[in-house]
């Protein structure tokens, strides 16, 4: 099964839902905590409307929303994945990827099943496109999650692999503990979230990586079952909140790789988010329901890189091409090599304090 790698980390005998931050400590008949969802409204006839993400699912009694992890039981909406982790692994933070967040540090990375989109090219579809009862999982309370991160000497907990928006309540409960434990929280997400829950979450986060799937709405509709505009709104809100933001664009040959689209994307980033926001163009490999495309040619990524740079973005990267110079960080002013990387490994980091050692230009990011 997909990304779940480090179950050896798990400790026996974790108490079930012992530190749920809200609601009664109900236990589902499957043995996992049953926590009332946040951000929904009750409608007539025991229906509810979820207001967590832009899908705004209207859900009848006994049914689930699109993400498959939130269920209406008699007019009360529940998350079925609070503390129900299907994946736990300690990764280099570069793998998320965050290139401007304490390079070389570790992120204790967790996920539950579920996603509020269905990208036909999802690399983790074996967990993101399943329902909780279909995938083995462990019961890990928010406090235990921090405990694991400490044991692993990981300064960050990353919500990643699937779509953290759909396990919002757990993510929020874990992130709220960050101040107490000193283990900071970072999110890797599609950015498909409504404004209110996002505002509630942001104060507890250190960094946010958004997968910007494309810069054209038909791509979102046809290949992801989503919409572009809410993601753009979320990007601006994250940036405005002062949470460190990086953007990843998975480049699919012929689907989202036209020069015009990349140019529009880069212009949007520069104008609305700022030229200092890193943008990673990463390489696609055929998977899931999109098997009829070739892997992205490296030359395509290089073209994306050049276009974005040409539009004035300071930090443009290439991903899934280990050893390519496009993985490195250069000073936007004097072009000095600052951080050298191969894949997820940091070879050297010459940033001094938070500045270029040569021209002293401040390099934005979370460096300590």
């Amino acid at each position: 099964m997909g990304a779940c790698g480090a179950c050896g980390l798990l400790l026996p005998g974790l108490a079930r839902g012992q530190d749920q931050a809200r609601g009664k400590a109900l236990v589902d008949d499957t043995g996992y905590p049953l926590v009332e969802a946040k951000h929904y409204v009750r409608l007539d006839g025991k229906r509810v409307r979820c207001e967590l993400c832009p899908r705004r699912c209207q859900v009848a009694d006994l049914e689930r929303g699109y993400c498959g992890v939130r269920e209406n039981r008699g007019g009360t909406y529940y998350t079925l994945v609070h503390s129900r982790l299907c994946s736990m692994h300690t990764d280099p933070i570069e793998k998320k990827p965050f290139f401007h967040v304490v390079p070389g540090s570790q992120a204790f990375s967790v996920a539950t099943v579920g996603c509020n989109m269905e990208c036909k090219f999802c690399q983790n579809w074996e967990i993101s496109q399943y329902r909780p009862e279909q995938v083995p999982a462990r019961n890990v309370s928010p406090r235990a999650c921090h405990g694991f991160a400490k044991t692993e000497a990981a300064p960050f907990i990353a919500f990643t692999y699937t779509e953290p928006v759909v396990f919002y309540e757990y993510m929020l409960d874990v992130a709220r503990l960050s101040r107490q434990t000193g283990v900071r929280s970072v999110v890797v997400s599609n950015g498909y979230i409504e404004e209110k829950p996002l505002r509630e979450l942001l104060p507890h986060l250190t960094a946010f990586k958004v997968d910007l799937k494309a810069f054209r709405n038909p791509f979102y509709q046809d290949l992801c079952a989503g919409r572009l505009q809410p993601v753009l709104s979320a990007l601006q809100l994250i940036k405005k909140a002062g949470v460190w933001l990086e953007i990843v664009v998975l480049v699919l040959p012929t689907k989202n790789d036209s020069e015009a689209e990349i140019r529009d994307l880069a212009r949007f980033v520069k104008r609305n988010l700022g030229p200092e926001v890193p943008v990673h163009f990463t390489r696609f490999h055929p998977t899931y329901r999109l098997q009829n495309l070739p892997p992205t040619p490296v030359s395509t990524l290089e073209r994306c890189y050049d276009v974005a740079k040409g539009e004035g973005l300071y930090f443009v990267y290439m991903g899934n091409v280990p050893g390519h110079p496009g993985e490195n960080t250069y000073c936007p002013r004097c072009n000095e090599l600052l951080i050298s990387r191969t894949g997820f490994t940091v070879r050297s980091n010459r940033i001094s304090g938070n500045a270029c050692p040569k021209c002293k230009t401040e390099i934005p990011g979370v460096w300590s």
């Binding site: 008949d29 006839g45 025991k46 229906r47 699912c57 209207q58 009848a60 009694d61 006994l62 049914e63 689930r64 929303g65 699109y66 993400c67 498959g68 269905e118 036909k120 496109q129 399943y130 329902r131 009862e133 279909q134 995938v135 079952a225 899931y288 329901r289």
Partner: protein, 343 residues
Amino acid sequence: MGVALRSQYATLWRMDCSRRQFLQTGIALGGGLAIGSGILDATMARAAASAPASRVAVVRRKGVTGKDGGVRADVVKRMVFDAVCRATGLDSPRDAFGSLFSASDVVGIKVSCLAGKRMSTRPEVALALAEGVQLAGVKPFNVIVWERSSRELERAGYQIQRESRDLRIMGSDGDYESQPTDAGSVGGCFTRIVTRLCTRQISAPVLKDHDLSGVSLGMKNWYGAIHNPNKYHDNNCSPYVADLFGKSVLRERVRLVVCDALFAQCHGGPAYAPDFMWRFEGVIASLDPVAHDAVGARIIEDERRRRGLPALLEDRRPPRWLERAAALGLGTADRQQIKLIEG
């Protein structure tokens, strides 16, 4: 379906209607369908027997349900057999089931158990079907009553018998193919009960309303066969219900739809909503899944109208997927071409 057959059905339907008007019996259904006590004459029965599809049998027995919510198993069994005979146009249950299944088959009976005991496929209906299938020579352990999870089956009153040498009753419980089957708008991993275990399938839904798809009947029942049904509820589940059923893995295996309409529900589905439940005291059977669902939808619409509830279209959840299913050639949704046989 060829033109010749289509016109034959149309002719039959006209004949049936004339007779029905003459008899002036039955419960009027909106839009021209009627369920009454009409009896096919011998000529029509012979003609019907040569036309296997687009016949929908509705068999009703007053008193089959009890006040306590129970049902009379012996009567249910006779109703199921009668409905399948009428749907196939054959006289004996042995011939009827034998025309659909052979001794070498492994037959799945997909029940619908989301809503617990009160609004799920009754075990009495599933067991009657299992008995019927065995009349075709299918071995008891080659009949599998199934749902997506054992938990749902148990809640609906079934006892799990996964390893039984007799009838097997089990949930698919996460046992899916490792890759999605991709066609049309749907891309889901099928349960291996469908792909590996069974050679034939029966859809055994309940007659009920659905908050998004309008109604939840024979084709919607197959949402329980894939790992990600939650992805296919937008736009009143259209085109998804039809596209899913259109996949060869289902289309080629599903031989029969038999709906538990003993109790039915016209609003508030898919969960059990007692205020909108009524005793229809029926079993609906067809070899044409689209015709079956069209008739079921019409019965629900009719009950809604009787109670002053808005039509499904007004309620913004018409079963659009019926048209799509017909367009894909999965059956007929055209009531002029559906031959309704009641008893």
